[in-house]
Symmetry: C2
Subunit: 346 residues, 2 copies
Amino acid sequence: MSRDEGAAVDNKTSRDPAMTDVARLAGVSHQTVSRVLNDHPNVREQTRLRVRAAIAELGYRPNKAARALVTGRSQLIGVVAQNSTLYGPASLLAAFEEAAALAGFAVSVGRVKELDHASINKAVERHRDERVAGIVVIAPTAPANDALADIPAGVPVVTVDGDPARPTPLVTVDQQAGAYAATKHLLDAGHRTVWHVSGPPNWFDSSGRVEGWRKALEDAGAEVPPLVPADWSARAGHQAGQMLARMPEVTAVFAANDHLALGILRAMHERGRRVPEDVSVVGFDDVPEAEFFIPPLTTVRQDFAAVAREALDLLLAQVVDGAAADTRRTIAPALISRGSVAPPAG
Amino acid sequence: MSRDEGAAVDNKTSRDPAMTDVARLAGVSHQTVSRVLNDHPNVREQTRLRVRAAIAELGYRPNKAARALVTGRSQLIGVVAQNSTLYGPASLLAAFEEAAALAGFAVSVGRVKELDHASINKAVERHRDERVAGIVVIAPTAPANDALADIPAGVPVVTVDGDPARPTPLVTVDQQAGAYAATKHLLDAGHRTVWHVSGPPNWFDSSGRVEGWRKALEDAGAEVPPLVPADWSARAGHQAGQMLARMPEVTAVFAANDHLALGILRAMHERGRRVPEDVSVVGFDDVPEAEFFIPPLTTVRQDFAAVAREALDLLLAQVVDGAAADTRRTIAPALISRGSVAPPAG
DNA sequence: TGAGTGGGTGTTATCGCTAACATCCGAAGT
DNA sequence: ACTTCGGATGTTAGCGATAACACCCACTCA
C-alpha cells in the first residue's frame, strides 16, 4: 500500500518540504522565504523569483498549523448552525461557505443538535480552541441568541438570523417587510383579510413574519384573524390547512414558509377547495420547487447569498479593524408572483 | 470597545493560559500536564486530580495548532462537496458533520462550484495544507471521481457516492436495488411497463438507477421504453412530464428523484391526467415534503445518516491502522409506499 | 545485600513558522 | 571623506504542545 517501499527519492520518511528546505535550495535564509510568502515589500525582485522557483520545484506548501501557532490566528472561520436540512439554514450555510472560500478562508462547521445555550456554547468553545479568526453564529431562536452573551469580547462574532433587537454585528433578512408585502399582495387582490400559518413561536423569523402580517392588516384596516401556529414542516401545514379548509370565510392564507404552503395546498385539494379560485396562498422562501407546486406558488424570496456576503464582510471588518461595534445589515426580500393568488370568488 | 481598558485582571495582553501555566499552578512539569490531558497511564491519581483542578481553575484549553504542529495531524476532517442545496448532497453533508462531531472531529468543508478535476484537486490540496486527519470526497460524477487519482497515497480518503466500480474505500447507497424495487413495485401493480425520467447522465446515481430500472423491466419480460433524460430539477421533471402526459400509453413513471416527480405530478395535473388513477408515479430520495405532494408520493428512501456513519468509520480505520485497501460499504435503500401508485385503468 | 525492574516525574529537543532585532551594504547628504 | 539612512538579508528567540530520554525511588528477587 505505501509508496515508501522502494522509494527512489529518499529512504527516510521523506516528510513534506519545510521552509528551510526551500531556503537551502534558493540559497537564502528561511526568513526570506517567509517574506516572499507574505508579500513583504523589502525583497529584491530577483530573490523573490529565485524563492518562488524553489517553492515550485519542491512543491512546498506552508504548514498552517505552524503559522497558526505563532500568529495565534488561523485562516479558519467557525460557523455554528443547527443541524438541519431546512431550506433556509442549509442555503445560508452553503452560501457562506462559498463566500468564505472566495476570500481565502476555510470554514469549520460546528453543527449543533439543539439550539440551546449549552450546545451553542460548546460549539463556540470548540471553535475557539481551533483559534478561528472569527465565528458566525446562525441563531434564529431566542435561546440561541442568549448564548451569544457568553462569548468573550475580543472574539470576532457575527450573528445571522438573530434577534433584530440585539446590539451586535448582525445580518438578517427583513422578515417583516417580506411578510408585509405578501399580506398586502393578497389584500390588494381583493381579499377582505388574510389568515396566517406561522412558524415555531421561538424563531425570530416567525415573529418577524407575524408582525409584518399583522401590520399590513392593520394598515389596511382589515380584521386580524387568529394566528394559526405551526412549525416549519409540510406536515404542520397540512394540519393547519385541514382546519382552514373547513372554514368558508377563509379566502387567503399566508404561510410562513413554502413547505407549510405545500401542506396547505394539499389540504385544500383534499377538501375540494380550489387554489387559487377559492383560496389564495402565499408562501415564504421561494424554494426551487415552489414554481412546480400545484398551483405554482406565489412566495417571498430571500437572498441568502447576499446575507452570506454581508456576514463575511462584517466579520472580516472585525478581524482587521479590531472592533466594529454595532453594525448591522438588513437584506430586503422580494415578492415572487406566481399562480396561487387570485381575487376572491365572492 | 475593548475590555482591556481598565482591566482589573492583568495589564498585559493577558493571553490564554498555556500548559506551563497549568503546570506551575499544579506544581508539576508541563509534561505531566500533557500526560494527564492525553490519559497516559503512568500518572499518580493524586497528581492527576491536582492537574485537573488547575486546568479547571485557569479555564485552560489546549492549543490545537501547537498539537497539530508537533504531531503532524489535526482533529479535523476535510470534506469536499459540491456547492449545492440538492437534497441528497446536503443531507449527506449534515449527517456527516454530526457523525464526525460525535467522534470528536471537527469538519472543514471545502465546497466546490463545479465537480471538475481542477476544482476538486484544489479543495483537496487546501485540506492537506490544514493537515487534516483525513478527507471525504463526495464524488457523484465521473470527473469528480477521476480527480481522486491525484491524491497521493498515505492520505486517508473515503469516497461517498462515487463510482461503484472504483477500487477504493467507498460508501454508496445501492441505487440499482432502489430503482429495481421502485420499478418492480409499479410492475407488480399491474402496469405493462414503466417509463423512467432520469437524472443527469454523468452522475453515478443516475446510471445506477437507470440500470436498476432496466433490469427490473427485463427480468419481468416487459418492454423497455426509451429513456427520458433530465437533470435533478423540478423544472426538468415538468418538461418531461408534459411530454409523457400526451402519450396515452404511459401509465407508470419512475422518476430519478422526488423533485423530478413533483414536476411530473404538476404536468400530469395540467393535462388532466389523474395520479394515480391514470398514471402512477414513483420518486427517489423521500424528501420530507414528499408525503405532502398531490398525491402523496411513493418513493425510495436513502439513509444518509447510515452512509455518513460508515464513511466516518472507514476513514478512521485508515487513520488508525494506516491503510485499509479496498473496503467498501453499501447501504440498502427502502421503498416507501404512499398514494401515487395504483393499478392501471385499462 | 546488590542488581534489576518499572512506575512516576522532570528535562531537553523539536515541530515549522513569524517577530524582533542585528547586520551588511551602497546611495545620499554635508 | 564621514556620517546617516534605509533597503535587503540573516540570526535568534519564541509560539505551545508532544516525544524521547534521563532520572529517582521504592520494590522484588537471587
